[in-house]
Every structure is written in C-alpha cells, then in structure tokens.
Amino acid sequence: MSAVQPIATAPTKTVSTDIELLRAESLFCERDERVLFEDLAFSINAGEIVQVEGPNGSGKTTLLRILSGLSGAYEGRIYWKGEPLSSARIDFLSNLLYLGHKPGVKAILTPVENLRALMGMRQGVTDGEIYHALEKVGLYGYEEVPCHNLSAGQHRRVALARLYLSNDAIWILDEAFTAIDKAGVKALESLLADRAQQGGAVILTTHHELKLEKGFRKLRLGKSQEQAPSCVIEEEGRR
C-alpha cells in the first residue's frame, strides 16, 4: 500500500490558478473502532470546488472537521499552502470560512445581530454590507425579526449570508443546502461558481445533485461492510 495516493490531475474545466491551498496526505481516522477512511490523500487548489460524497456515516462531516482543524482525532498530515497546518494555523484561520451542521446562528438574536457578532470576530464589516448580504439571500424585510420566528430554511440563509460577506480563500461548507428551496440552491450554485472563478476554493458536502457549469471534483468516501474503506477522486463536469 503506497503511503500517498496519486493526487488527482489538475482539472481542465475549472479556472485553476494552480496555487495549492490545502493538501492532505495519508489521512486516517477511525471512530468507535470503525475505520472511516485510511490512506486518504488529496489536494485542493485555488479556484476549485470539491464535493465530498458518501453515504450517511461515511465520515464526511468528520473529514471536514479535521480539515478545518476542529478535530484532532486523526493520523496523517495536512498542509496549508505547503506548510504543516499546525504551524500555519493563524494564516489558515484568517482565510477560512467554515459553515458546519450547526450554523452558529442564535435563535433569539435577529439576523443582523447574528451576522454582526459572527463577522465582528473575524473582519471589519459595516451594517450596510450586512443588510446587503441579507437581501442577497432573500431575507429582505426579515432583518430585525428574531431568528426563532424564521423558518428552518430562512434560519439557514442567515448563516449563508456570510458567504456574501466573506473574501476568505477557502470555504468549508457542511450540508450547506439543507432546508434551502430550489431557487435558493440555484443562487448558491452560481455563487460557488463565481467564487471559484475568482480563485476561491470550496469544499462542501451535500446530498443534493450539484449542477455547476464549470465542473467540479468529487471526493468519494465509500465504505461497505466487507471491503476496506476506500476513497475515489473523480471529476464531474457539465457543459
């Protein structure tokens, strides 16, 4: 078994600037004595969109938590711009936007207050920009309504408004499309495509069929009872 799998060839259909942002080598993670993935290796360049795919319980969220640095329960090496993640941590966090399963939106705060708090910890954002971003995600008129009065989809959209405020180099989105309606998903897909065009990298998990014109890569976390866990990297593109 080779320690490092060949890293997938540079995608031809994406506008890749060929700057390697994140690279993982021989990642291994097990949970409750089940191996989620082993010998996992991949890299993500600027301008790339990578979808992590796999059945429930295959370790998608765990992988994203490991990549974002939230979880240390793994073996292997992760590099940010060629430097080990542990030593490049501040630079990595300054360039990371992570949206987890739990979106970090407080139910008893209004969307504006939520974004003010979430963004205020990271970068300077004016109220005008916040209102603008909320309008973009379709929450115009709901800016001052406490989030517990919003629907599940609208709740999610408050968190997604951060995407419109962010100029971070890498986005890690865990189940970003949950509870979002069709029009919203379409708007998000075009946002992601624009983002990649501008040289941002996106890693996401979703059970939704992604439709991106420029194409994207899939990282498949597979597992079956008999076989050893495996990981397949393939390219998916549509014209």
Partner: protein
C-alpha cells in the same frame, strides 16, 4: 466580494463584539437571569426562619450565609455559560477565528459576571441589613463580594468549558469547581468576620485581590484550552 475591505479587527473590537452579543443574549433571556438571584434571596432569607432569628446569631453567621448563597447562586448559573453556544455551533465559529480564543472567553466571562455577579453585589446590602450587620460590616461584605464574585465566574468558566461537551454536565461542574471555590469563601467570610470584630482587614483584602489577579490571568487561557478539548471530540 473583492470589493469588501477585510482588515483584521483589533482585540478590543473582538472583545466588545462578544461582550455586546452576550449582553444582548442575556437581556433577551432575562427571566433566566432572575433565577439565581431569587435563589440567592430565598436562601439568605430562609436562614433566620430555619435556624434562629436572634440578632446575635445572625450578626455572627450573616456574612457567611450571604457568601455561601452567592457562591451557590453563581454555581447554578454556570452551566449556561457555554451550553447554548455549544449547541448552536457558535463556539465552533469562535474557535475558527484567527483571534486568540481567550479574548473571546474573557469577554464571555465578563458578561457573565455583569449579569450574575453584579446583581448579587447590589442585592447584598439589603440582605446584610436583614442579617443585622453593622453598616461598616456591610461595606466590607460588599467589597469582598466585589473582589470575590469575578473569581467565582472566572474559575467556574473552566469547569463549564470542561463539561460543555458532556450531555450531563451539571453535577460534574459542582464537583470540579467547589474545591477551587473554598479559598475564596474562606477569605471572603474571614474578611467580614475580622471587620465585625474591629480587626484590620487589609491583609484579607490583599489576598482576595491576589486570588482575583491570579484567576484573571490564568482562567481565560485554561478555559480556552478546555473549550478546544470539549469541541475536538
């Protein structure tokens, strides 16, 4: 997106953002805040009824009773310090900012003290009068609470951070934290006893101040580390 200005906010801006957010949250859930306060008043006012309404006894035990009640009331409120932030993912977002986590933790603890410690401090003279404490003694009692209640919040935060990832954290916090509260309690009540007996209290006050300085510098760092451990599982 490229039009956005992205300058890293200053530490004081991060601190005030978190503080403002936590105070807004506390204001929206003010009925939860009243809980420990009512507990504080009830415990102290039940004492004369349950033990003895004698003036001499109350003067003797008053300061200790107020202090124990304040300590238990703080303990009651601790579980909520990080719980809701943990449940809705806000804590993950805090950890994933490039800012030092202990600044945000310090802001959260300060907010916690403002909404639990300060009200206890304001109520204490009323309860002091009820316990027949002298005016001078009440002043010293308030001074010890002013120095002591921030320590209760600071030290309690470590326990709250360690147990936030557990489904049943409540009992564990008490067991972890109570031993660390003992020195504050001893010096807090000791100061008031000394004042009641017309003895100098400077030494006690200095020790309480030293405990506050120690916990102010160490606790945010320990709490931040504990939060990282709780979230990495």
């Amino acid at each position: 997106m490229s039009t956005l200005v992205s300058e890293t906010p200053s530490l004081s801006h991060v601190f005030s953002t978190v503080l403002k957010r936590d105070l807004t949250l506390a204001y929206r859930r003010r009925q939860d805040l009243v809980n420990p306060l009512i507990f504080f008043v009830i415990v102290v006012s039940l004492f004369p009824l349950g033990v003895s309404p004698e003036k001499s006894f109350l003067q003797e035990a008053g300061a200790g009773v107020v202090w124990v009640a304040a300590l238990l009331a703080t303990l009651l409120s601790l579980d909520g310090l990080f719980r809701s932030d943990y449940d809705d993912g806000s804590l993950e977002q805090m950890i994933l900012t490039p800012q030092p986590l202990f600044i945000m933790v310090l802001a959260k603890i300060f907010a916690h003290w403002l909404v639990t410690g300060v009200p206890l401090l304001i109520l204490s003279p009323v309860l002091g009068i009820m316990m027949h404490l002298e005016f001078e003694t009440i002043k010293v009692l308030m001074l010890t609470l002013l120095l002591g209640t921030p320590v209760l919040s600071l030290v309690g935060a470590i326990g709250a951070a360690l147990t936030v990832g557990l489904r049943v954290g409540g009992v564990l916090i008490s067991l972890l934290i109570l031993p660390l509260y003992i020195p504050v309690l001893i010096f807090g009540t000791g100061t008031v006893q000394a004042a009641a007996n017309m003895l100098p209290v400077d030494g006690y006050i200095a020790l309480l101040g030293a405990i506050l300085a120690l916990s102010l510098t160490m606790s945010p760092i320990a709490t931040a580390a504990a939060l990282r451990i709780s979230l990495s599982s």
